[in-house]
C-alpha cells in the first residue's frame, strides 16, 4: 500500500527528533548538520558514506565526525534502501520523526528516503533539511552524462495513456547547457523551466549556464521558485503538475538545488505516473567541494505520512 504525504513548512532546525539520516561525502558541508545535531539533540544519528569519490573534504569530514562520536556505515547505492529500513527506530504511540539531511545526499538516496515514507505503514514525519553552500564560481563547462533515467524504479511512473504528449518540468542548474541537452534528448511537446531564485551570484551563474534555453523561452515558460521557501515551491510545482496531467504525461528533471529534488519527489509521490529523472555525470566531471554558507539559513520541508493529516491513496 502506498501512502501520500502531507507537506508542511519547517522553521530552522528541529531538534526534537528521533533520528537524523545524513551522509559522509566529499563536501565540507556534509558534516555540518550531523555535528550540529550531535551537540544539540539527543537523537540517533546514522550516516552513510559513498563507495567512490573519497576526495576533497572526505577525510576531514570522517575525522571530525569520528571525533564527535558519530559512526558512519559504508553503504553502496543499491543497498541504501535496506540500510535506511534498518536504521529506523520503532516509535510506539506517536509518529516517528526523522530528519533527512539532503545537502550532500545523492538524488537516488533522497528518492529512497521519500519512497520509504510512502511505503512505511506507521505514522512518520520526515523533515528534509538542506544546508546552502557558499557560492563558488566553478566555471563548470559542458560535461558528459553517464546515464539519464528515472531516479529509481519507484519514481519512473507508468503513464496509462502513452499517446498523450509529454510535458517536461526542467529544473535549472549550473551545468552549462545540460538542461538544453536533456530537453533535446527527451523531445517533450512542452517545456517549463524552473529557475531557483535566492541569491544574485547563484542566479547569474544559472542564467549563464542556461542562456540559450532561457533566451528562447516564450513568455511564461520560465517559472521562478524561491529556493528559501520550499513549501511555496511545492505548492507551485504540484499545481503545475496537476494542471498538466489533465492533457499530457508529465516528467520532472530536478537539476538545481537538492531541496528541489525533494520537492519533485514529493509531488511525484502524489500521483503514480509522474517520472522524476536523474542524470549522472560522466567520468570527466570533477567533484567540487561545497562549504556551508553560515549567512544562509538551513532550508527545510516536512512530509508526514499516515498521520492525522496524511491519507492513504491506494
Amino acid at each position: 500500500m502506498r501512502n501520500v504525504p502531507a507537506v508542511s513548512p519547517v522553521r530552522g532546525t528541529p531538534f526534537d527528533v528521533d533520528l537524523l539520516i545524513g551522509s559522509l561525502g566529499f563536501e565540507a558541508r556534509s558534516r555540518v548538520l550531523p555535528l550540529l545535531y550531535a551537540s544539540e539533540s539527543r537523537c540517533r544519528i546514522r550516516l552513510a558514506s559513498f563507495e567512490s569519490q573519497r576526495v576533497l573534504s572526505f577525510e576531514e569530514n570522517r575525522a571530525r565526525l569520528a571525533a564527535a562520536g558519530l559512526l558512519v556505515d559504508e553503504v553502496c547505492e543499491a543497498d541504501f534502501g535496506e540500510w535506511l529500513s534498518r536504521a529506523m527506530p520503532v516509535a510506539e504511540h506517536r509518529p516517528l520523526r526523522v530528519v533527512v539531511d539532503v545537502s550532500s545526499m545523492s538524488r537516488y538516496r533522497i528518492a529512497e528516503c521519500v519512497r520509504f515514507g510512502c511505503e512505511y505503514q506507521m505514522p512518520l514525519e520526515m523533515v528534509f533539511l538542506y544546508q546552502p553552500a557558499q557560492f563558488r564560481h566553478t566555471q563548470r563547462g559542458p560535461s558528459t552524462i553517464k546515464s539519464l533515467a528515472p531516479v529509481s524504479r519507484y519514481f519512473a511512473g507508468l503513464s496509462v495513456d502513452p499517446e498523450l504528449p509529454l510535458s517536461l518540468l526542467m529544473g535549472l542548474g549550473y551545468e552549462a547547457d545540460r538542461a538544453l541537452g536533456v530537453v533535446e534528448f527527451l523531445e517533450p511537446a512542452t517545456v517549463y523551466c524552473l529557475f531557483p531564485r535566492g541569491g544574485q551570484d547563484y542566479e547569474d551563474s544559472i542564467e549563464a549556464a542556461n542562456r540559450d534555453l532561457v533566451d528562447s523561452a516564450p513568455l511564461g515558460r520560465v517559472v521562478n521558485y524561491e529556493f528559501g521557501d520550499p513549501l511555496a515551491s511545492f505548492v507551485m510545482l504540484n499545481s503545475m503538475v496537476a494542471g498538466l496531467r489533465r492533457y499530457s504525461r508529465v516528467s520532472i528533471v530536478p537539476f538545481g538545488p537538492k531541496i528541489f529534488s525533494v520537492i519533485s519527489l514529493l509531488v511525484s509521490s502524489l500521483y503514480g505516473d509522474v517520472t522524476v529523472w536523474r542524470a549522472s555525470d560522466g567520468d570527466d566531471v570533477a567533484p567540487v567541494d561545497r562549504v556551508a554558507d553560515p549567512s544562509r539559513a538551513v532550508v527545510g520541508l516536512s512530509a508526514s505520512w499516515f498521520s492525522s493529516e496524511g491519507r492513504s491513496r491506494t
Partner: protein, 593 residues
C-alpha cells in the same frame, strides 16, 4: 506549421493525426511506405519517421487535402494502426520489472499499449464522427451499437478485461485500467493474493489477430488488411523488438508491419534467418548522403510555410539573403565576388597558387572561360573549399574572425538541415518570424544556424554513455571534426581534402557503439557505396561524414570529400594515445558491430 522553439518543438509525436495531415508534404518515401508490403523506415532523429507512419492512419488520411491525397487514399488498401513510443515510455517500461523477472510486466504493458491502439482504430472506423469541411471518409464501416457491444464483449472475454462501458470505448477504457493495474503490480501491490494474472502473458500478435477476426465478423467486411505501425523500434523491449522484426518475414496477408527505427541498433539481428530487405520488406532510408537529393523536398516544405504566411510562389532563395556559396551554379566563370576571394587566396596561399598554376588557371586574366572549359570546371570544383579556406585561415593560421558570413543563404541552409524536416522547420520558423517579404539578412541567418548547432551539440553531449568508456559522442566527433578542419584550412591546399572517414575493420565495439549513437542522433551521415544498402547493425568498413549541421562549428565545406581511415583521423589528430585502445577489437563472439 507551428513549432517555434525547443519549448514547443516540432515533433510529430506530439501532434494529433489531423495536425500532422494539415501540413504534410508527400515524398517518394511516403509512396514507398504506403505500398502493400512490410516496411522498415530508417532514419536519424527528426528525419520524419513518425510523420510518415502517422500519415498512414485513417484519421490523418481522411482530413489530408494535398493534391496527391485522393490518389494516395485510393492506393492504400489497409488500415494503419499507429503504436507510439518515446524515451520516457521506454524508460518506464524498463523500470517495471523486478530484477528477478518473474513477472513480465514490461511485456504486458507493451501488449496492452498495442491493443489499445488497435481498439482505437476500431473505434474510429466504426463510429467516430466524420469531420466536416472536406474530409474524405476512409475505410469507414457501419456497425450498430448492439453488434459493437457484442464484439466488445468478445474482445473483453478473450483479453480478460472487465468492461464498465459498452462498446469499443469500453474496451479502450478497460485497457487503460489495465495499465494502471500493471503500475500497481510493479510497486508490489497486488489485487490478488500473490497470484500472477494470466493476461500478463497475453501475446500481442495473437491477441491482435484474434481482434481482427472479431472486428471482421462484427462488421461483415470480410478479410481486410491492417498495418501495425510501430514507431522507434529501437526503444521497444529487446524480446518484443526481435519478435516484431521477425514478423517482417510473416506471410500472414492480413497483417502488415511497418516499423521505424534509427540507423544503428546494436543487437539488430543480422543472421541468415533474419528478414531480408527487398525480399521480405521494403527498406526506406531517410538519410541523404548527397545533399542535393533532399533539396526538392526541403524546398516544398519551405514553400508551404511561406504560403501559410501569405507568400505564395516564393522559395527559399527569395527569403534568405544569399552567401558567396549561392553563386556556385552559374555557368560563367566571371562571378566577381567569388573570383576576388580566389584571387586573394592565390596571393596568400602558395599551395593554392601552385594548384592553379598546375591547371593553367590564371585568375588575373579577365577572359571568361566557357562552362565546359576544363579550367572552369576545375575552378567550380575547388571554389567551395577555397572559399572556406580563405574565410577561416591565412598563411596556415586561423583568422581572427567571428563570423565571416559563409554559412548562410539557401544553398548552405538546405545542406545544413540535411533534409531533416524537424531541423528545417525549426530553423525556418525562427527565420520567418516577422517576415515581411524582405530577405532575411546574413547576420540573422548565421545566428539561427549557430543556435541550432549549439542545441545539437548540447543534445550530443547529453546522449548517455552508459557503460561506454570515453567522453561520449562529442569525444569522438570533435577529434574527427578537428582533423578535417586541419586538412581543409591549414595543411597544404588540396582540391579534395578529406572530409569523410571509413570505420576500420578492427574498431572495437565501444567505438562503434558510440559512432552508432552519433549516427542515430544525425551527427554522422552514412555514405554508402553505389551498390550497398543502408547500415543498421554493422559500421565497420562503412564510410561516414559529419552532419553539415556541424560544418560551421568545424569550418568545413558543405560537400563530400575523400575518405580516410578513422584510425588515421584519431591518431593523426594527436589526441590521447589511449585512443588507440578504440581500435583494439575485443574478442566478442558474434559481434559484428
Amino acid at each position: 506549421m507551428s513549432g517555434p522553439s525547443v519549448f514547443e518543438s516540432f515533433n510529430a509525436r506530439a501532434l494529433e493525426p489531423h495536425q500532422v495531415a494539415s501540413s504534410f508534404i508527400p515524398s517518394e518515401h511516403y509512396d514507398a511506405l504506403a505500398r502493400r508490403q512490410h516496411s522498415l523506415v530508417v532514419g536519424p532523429r527528426g528525419s520524419g519517421k513518425t510523420t510518415l507512419l502517422k500519415m498512414l492512419q485513417p484519421q490523418a488520411l481522411e482530413v489530408w487535402r494535398h493534391p496527391s491525397a485522393d490518389r494516395v487514399r485510393k492506393s492504400i488498401d489497409f488500415t494503419g494502426v499507429f503504436v507510439p513510443s518515446d524515451i520516457t515510455w521506454e524508460r518506464q517500461l524498463q523500470s517495471l520489472d523486478p530484477s528477478d523477472n518473474t513477472r513480465p510486466l514490461a511485456h504486458a504493458a507493451f501488449t496492452t499499449h498495442v491493443l489499445r491502439a488497435l481498439v482505437s482504430a476500431f473505434e474510429f472506423r466504426a463510429g467516430h464522427p466524420i469531420e466536416s469541411g472536406g474530409s474524405k471518409p476512409f475505410r469507414r464501416v457501419k456497425l450498430s451499437p448492439e453488434r459493437q457491444a457484442r464484439a466488445a464483449q468478445e474482445l473483453a472475454g478473450n483479453w480478460q478485461l472487465q468492461l464498465s462501458i459498452d462498446g469499443f470505448a469500453g474496451v479502450r477504457h478497460a485497457l487503460t485500467a489495465r495499465l494502471a493495474q500493471i503500475r500497481i503490480l510493479s510497486m508490489g501491490g497486488d489485487s490478488d493474493s500473490g497470484s500472477v494474472p494470466a493476461w500478463l502473458r497475453l501475446p500481442f500478435l495473437e491477441a491482435s489477430a484474434m481482434a481482427l477476426d472479431v472486428f471482421e465478423q462484427a462488421t461483415g467486411t470480410g478479410r481486410e488488411r491492417w498495418a501495425l505501425l510501430f514507431d522507434e523500434l529501437e526503444l521497444a523491449p529487446k524480446r518484443l523488438r526481435d519478435e516484431l522484426f521477425q514478423s517482417l518475414r510473416s506471410v500472414e496477408d492480413r497483417l502488415l508491419f511497418k516499423l521505424s527505427m534509427s540507423p544503428f541498433t546494436k543487437d539488430f539481428p543480422d543472421d541468415h534467418l533474419s528478414p531480408m530487405a527487398g525480399q521480405d520488406f521494403g527498406l526506406i532510408s531517410l538519410s541523404y548522403p548527397n545533399k542535393e537529393s533532399s533539396y526538392e523536398f526541403s524546398e516544398a516544405i519551405v514553400q508551404q510555410m511561406l504560403k501559410e504566411k501569405g507568400f505564395d510562389s516564393r522559395g527559399l532563395s527569395d527569403v534568405l539573403a544569399p552567401s558567396i556559396l549561392d553563386a556556385g551554379n552559374d555557368a560563367k566563370f566571371n562571378k566577381n565576388r567569388q573570383r576576388a576571394i580566389l584571387q586573394r587566396l592565390a596571393k596568400n596561399d602558395a599551395g593554392f597558387a601552385e594548384h592553379l598554376a598546375s591547371k593553367r588557371i590564371d585568375l588575373e586574366k579577365p577572359a571568361t572561360y566557357s562552362s565546359k572549359d576544363p579550367r572552369a570546371i576545375e575552378v567550380r570544383k575547388v571554389a567551395h573549399v577555397a572559399i572556406i579556406r580563405e574565410a577561416f585561415a591565412q598563411n596556415g593560421e586561423p583568422r581572427a574572425r567571428k563570423n565571416p558570413g559563409i554559412y548562410h543563404g539557401a544553398t548552405a541552409l538546405f545542406a545544413i538541415v540535411e533534409g531533416n524536416p524537424r531541423w528545417l522547420i525549426g530553423m525556418m520558423t525562427e527565420l520567418l518570424r516577422g517576415f515581411d517579404g524582405a530577405p532575411v539578412d546574413a547576420a540573422r541567418q548565421s545566428a539561427e544556424i549557430q543556435k541550432a548547432t549549439n542545441r545539437f551539440r548540447a543534445l550530443l553531449r547529453t546522449i548517455p554513455l552508459g557503460d561506454l568508456p570515453g567522453r561520449g559522442a562529442l569525444g569522438i566527433l570533435d577529434p574527427i571534426g578537428e582533423y578535417f578542419k586541419n586538412a581543409v584550412l591549414f595543411e597544404r591546399f588540396s582540391s579534395d581534402p578529406p572530409t569523410t572517414f571509413v570505420v576500420d575493420s578492427d574498431a572495437n565495439s565501444s567505438l562503434t557503439e558510440t559512432l552508432g549513437r552519433a549516427l542515430n542522433a544525425g551527427a554522422l551521415v552514412y555514405v554508402p557505396d553505389k551498390d550497398s544498402g543502408i547500415s543498421v547493425s554493422s559500421l565497420r568498413g562503412k564510410r561516414f561524414r559529419l552532419s553539415f549541421l556541424l560544418a560551421a562549428h568545424y569550418c568545413l565545406p558543405l560537400q563530400l570529400g575523400r575518405s580516410v581511415p578513422l584510425s588515421r583521423v584519431m591518431y593523426g589528430a594527436g589526441r590521447d594515445p589511449g585512443q588507440k585502445g578504440l581500435f583494439d577489437r575485443e574478442r566478442e563472439g558474434g559481434d559484428d558491430a
